[in-house]
Amino acid sequence: MSNKTITFKILRQDGPNQPSYWETFVIPYLPNSNVISCLMDIQKNPINSEGKKVRPVVWECNCLEEVCGTCTMVINGKTRQSCSALIDKLMQPITLQPLSKFPVVRDLAVDRSRMFEALKRVKAWVPMDGYHDLGPGDKILPDHQGVAYKLSECMTCGCCVEACPQYSRDNNFLGAAAISQARLFNMHPTGKLIANERLDSLMDDGGIAACGNAQNCVEVCPKSIPLTESIAEMGRQSSKRFWKTLFQI
């Protein structure tokens, strides 16, 4: 065992709407650890750098393999999943902050309801009106499948909106993830039945027109989803609808 240590600076908050404060923790170094394993170590022995026993740090995690998106936080200033943030690849002291675009529940746990509300707004589902046998579905060609599969990897983690300068606590922008999901379901053979309803949501307040083209979303997406391509594609679909409705009224 080496006597190396890992230093964390964590932005903590005791509850919703409470003031936040920084707290430092120094824990023994273990090889191949990630941010979550270190948070677990802090949880077992919650003593801060001043030797004071404090309330254990709260965070959320689930899959531990970067597919659920739950453990997203701001690590050393950048938004990412803490499960795939390996200590050996991080500069110390490691700073941990909750996502800044969502209300903090406690410490590093945030309430990302707004993202799920955005998915509801764009109707990111395939409409079904019953459980009866609808027969075989449409054939899906491999090139379509390739695009759709990539889009379906979105885990609503919040990285895209966290890095977005257009997405803020006091506006109602849908964000890149929801726009990309609207694209996914608009290309689905059954999902496209309500394509125009999705476009109407995208063309509403805080919809696709609120995008400012900073393109941070595509840079920080942990799943490398072509978000700017999705935004451009939905921009094209809404442009078509824009001209159509303009000359129908």
């Binding site: 200033g77 950048k78 890095a163 977005c164 300068p165 257009q166 997405y167 803020s168 506006n171 109407d200 063309m203 509403d204 307040d205 805080g206 919809g207 696709i208 027109a209 609120a210 995008c211 400012g212 083209n213 900073a214 393109q215 941070n216 840079e219 920080v220 072509p226 700017t228 391509e229 935004i231 451009a232 594609e233 939905m234 921009g235 094209r236 679909q237 809404s238 442009s239 609808r241 824009f242 409705t245 303009l246």
Partner: protein, 205 residues
């Protein structure tokens, strides 16, 4: 579609048509600076002598420019800084906003220099002389030159980068490859327009 969407699409459109096209035309006419005072004034006054000139300016320049500036300034103020994300497109995003506000301020100075001041001194029509005197002034020449240089650079950048975001907004360039092509195009436009503008300015530098 609602007013939020409509307002922003009109904002995007007015930036290229007609304001962007006006910029290109305006930079083209400044090439007359190289043909001397007489030719330059003759050409410029020929436009203003037309009874339609004022209406053309109001409909195709002042109103769209006013709309584009007001909404653009509002959107710029509402943006949330994300200082820890150092990506090229993100840099362009902020430069677009800073240059937009900078160019708006420049336009006020420019209008004062070429319209308000000549009208007040009753020397309107001597366009070449006003520009050349402003540039040659011993006390404030350096300031005028710097302001024009920054204003022109800001305008050509804002327009060139605007072509890029326009193609993204309207869905003209979809794939990352297509977006790269548009970016290359916008760089060419930026370099060409800036070169033309600097060449024109060299006549009275």
């Amino acid at each position: 579609m609602n007013s939020h969407f409509f307002a922003r699409r009109v904002h995007s459109l007015t930036g290229i048509i007609p304001v962007g096209l006006f910029l290109v035309y305006h930079l083209y006419t400044q090439l007359y600076l190289h043909q001397g005072a007489e030719k330059y004034n003759e050409h410029t006054n020929a436009f203003y002598d037309s009874p339609l000139a004022i209406w053309l300016l109001i409909i195709f320049v002042y109103i769209p420019l006013f709309y584009h500036s007001i909404l653009g300034a509002k959107l710029s103020i509402e943006a949330t800084p994300q200082p820890s994300y150092h990506y090229f497109s993100h840099l362009l995003y902020w430069l677009q906003r800073i240059s937009g506000i900078g160019v708006l301020l420049f336009i006020f100075a420019h209008l004062y220099n070429t319209k308000v001041m000549p009208l007040m001194t009753d020397t309107y029509g001597q366009h070449f002389e006003h520009l050349a005197e402003g540039f040659a002034s011993a006390e404030t020449g350096w300031l005028t030159k710097s302001v024009y240089l920054l204003g022109i650079l800001g305008a050509t950048f804002h327009f060139a980068n605007g072509i890029n975001t326009f193609c993204m907004t309207w869905g003209l360039a979809l794939t990352p490859r297509a977006q790269l092509r548009v970016r290359v195009l916008s760089i060419i436009v930026f370099v060409l327009l800036t070169a033309v503008a600097l060449y024109s300015m060299s006549a009275i530098w």
